[in-house]
Symmetry: C2
């Protein structure tokens, strides 16, 4: 394994000089910079990330904290895109990432989790799918031990940023489109899990819309569950002329119920997962670019690690109508 020492010897300079070249320090002559660069190239030297991270404390590692639900692959699709976006961006930023599932830390106390991450050399954490019930993660955020970026939750402080789309507006948009297209007056809204931060945002959106457009609205908690959405739809859909769901999976459940009941009601979902293309019927949905969101999160974490302050970052979304033809290949 070729080390910085080998490069230094080969180039006839000191180790520190090589280090300076590697890290683009200012006070190095063009001449030695080139000399060292050539040797690095020739020897195919790549700095040892482990040693670098031990030494500097600046170029730290990043953890992706992901909530897993192996029963529904809708979340698999989303998680994969999150991971993909993060890992790719991390490589560009020369950051080292590890993937951690919440199930791995759920039986630890906050101090235990903190020392676990510290022992791993973690300096930044991206949290995907935080709910109000995740006490330990909240303590992590409050501890200030790590730079953190939280997806889809309004946590912002000195060392914590939030990244998400505008859920309230998106819910308004997709519902409005569906309602206008079908001339609806009475909306059945199936909301997500109460502890989820996005749930209340989206709920606000639909309420606001119905107030503005003077539509009748009933809301029921579907818990992001396909089955519950199906039951709710079975129970209420007859009396309403449109079903707005806070997730695609619930929209699929609602659609199944409508087919069973043999009545038509426009349904719209939220997230834009590929699964939507497989259920036969088309629906409007909010398309989130999870890859982009994750890249954005990593950029934000990078900013925080440079010493900048936490802030709220909003990512764009789009409205889509997924057809089977769009997804097969």
């Amino acid at each position: 394994m070729v080390s910085i020492k080998d490069v230094a010897k080969e180039a006839g300079v000191a180790i520190s000089t090589v280090s300076k070249v590697l890290n683009n320090y200012p006070n190095v002559s063009e001449e030695t910079r080139k000399k060292v660069g050539d040797v690095v190239e020739r020897l195919g030297f790549v700095p040892n990330a482990v040693a670098a991270s031990l030494s500097s404390k600046k170029t730290g590692r990043v953890a992706l904290l992901i909530k897993l639900n192996l029963r529904t692959q809708a979340s698999d699709e989303i998680s994969m895109q999150y991971i993909s976006g993060a890992v790719h961006r991390a490589k560009e930023l020369q950051l080292d990432v590890i993937t951690v599932f919440t199930s791995m830390i759920e039986d630890m106390s906050a101090p235990e989790v903190i020392s676990y991450f510290e022992s791993q050399g973690i300096r930044g954490i991206i949290v995907y799918g935080l709910t109000t019930r995740d006490k330990v993660v909240h303590k992590l955020i409050d501890s200030g031990n790590f730079k953190m970026v939280v997806i889809d939750a309004p946590m912002v402080n000195e060392s914590t940023s939030s990244v998400s789309i505008d859920h309230r507006q998106a819910q308004k948009d997709v519902a409005l489109k569906t309602i206008t297209e079908n001339g609806c007056k009475k909306v059945l809204y199936i909301s997500g899990e109460e502890s989820g931060y996005v749930t209340s945002e989206r709920l606000e959106g639909i309420k606001e819309l119905c107030r503005e457009k003077r539509l009748r609205l009933i809301t029921r908690n579907g818990d992001f569950s396909e089955l519950k959405a199906r039951e709710i739809t079975t129970k209420y859909a007859k009396k309403y002329d449109c079903v707005v769901c806070a997730s695609d999976l619930m929209a699929i459940g609602a659609m199944k119920a409508l087919i069973e009941m043999d009545i038509f009601r426009p349904v719209c979902g939220f997230d834009g997962i590929i699964l939507m293309g497989y259920v036969g019927k088309q629906m409007n949905t909010v398309k989130q670019d999870f890859v982009k969101i994750s890249e954005e999160a990593l950029d934000e974490l990078w900013r925080l690690m440079q010493g900048e302050k936490g802030r709220k970052v909003t990512v764009p979304y789009s409205l889509e109508r997924l057809k089977y033809e769009d997804i097969i290949c």
Copy 2:
């Protein structure tokens, strides 16, 4: 951050002694072992994995090399289960894992990839979804620089193990079941991508079965593509009384074609992905436990890192019939 030094001072012993206790070295008295253990407990000390790996070179890191296809979320589901199984098992084994997508290394030469992994302190690599065309990965395997475990490909040498189900037998089993249940005589087999190692295994299986049972067989290459399977089915299904597919996604494509043609043919798939539950019709399929496979792979990598030799590991599978009711929640 509490370090080994703090523990040593607090316990009134030398750093090296603490290290010995931590790593269960033999020559330590029960007394000091307990004394140190207590302090470790009290201070909540967790050894810094980065420093340990720098120093020892024994407790290495592991990379998961994953092939991503963002267009089909069938592979997302599988990849997520792979990652989940590996990450969880890794934590138990106190191994550190990083996730790498093939797209991140596809434009690098073999030496570059090797130094990249070495720079990351990687000592073991698990390869998911290897094809014959992945030249660089083959060079990685041949280089002997890393302990490797390859899923679903028959690569075995001194430092490389393979982990997979018995694809040949599984293909036979699922096809036999489907054929017997429906009394079929003429089989249309839609195979996977030619460069995939599993493709030929599964193909052998169906050929063997048809030979044994004296069934007529035609095989066509569907490239693991839903669309191609659909086209092939449209073209040939009329003349055959059963469609055996080398993947669930292709089975879905075949089913769609049959529905369009308005004829019935039993279809069977391979993999057991949840998506199968959403297409309306039930099909037989081979259920692979991807989480288990990945855990097994990690155990195997662990063995290799202990200096044991590469070998072939076979994991069990089961036959299933996925219904919508089985997957909703």
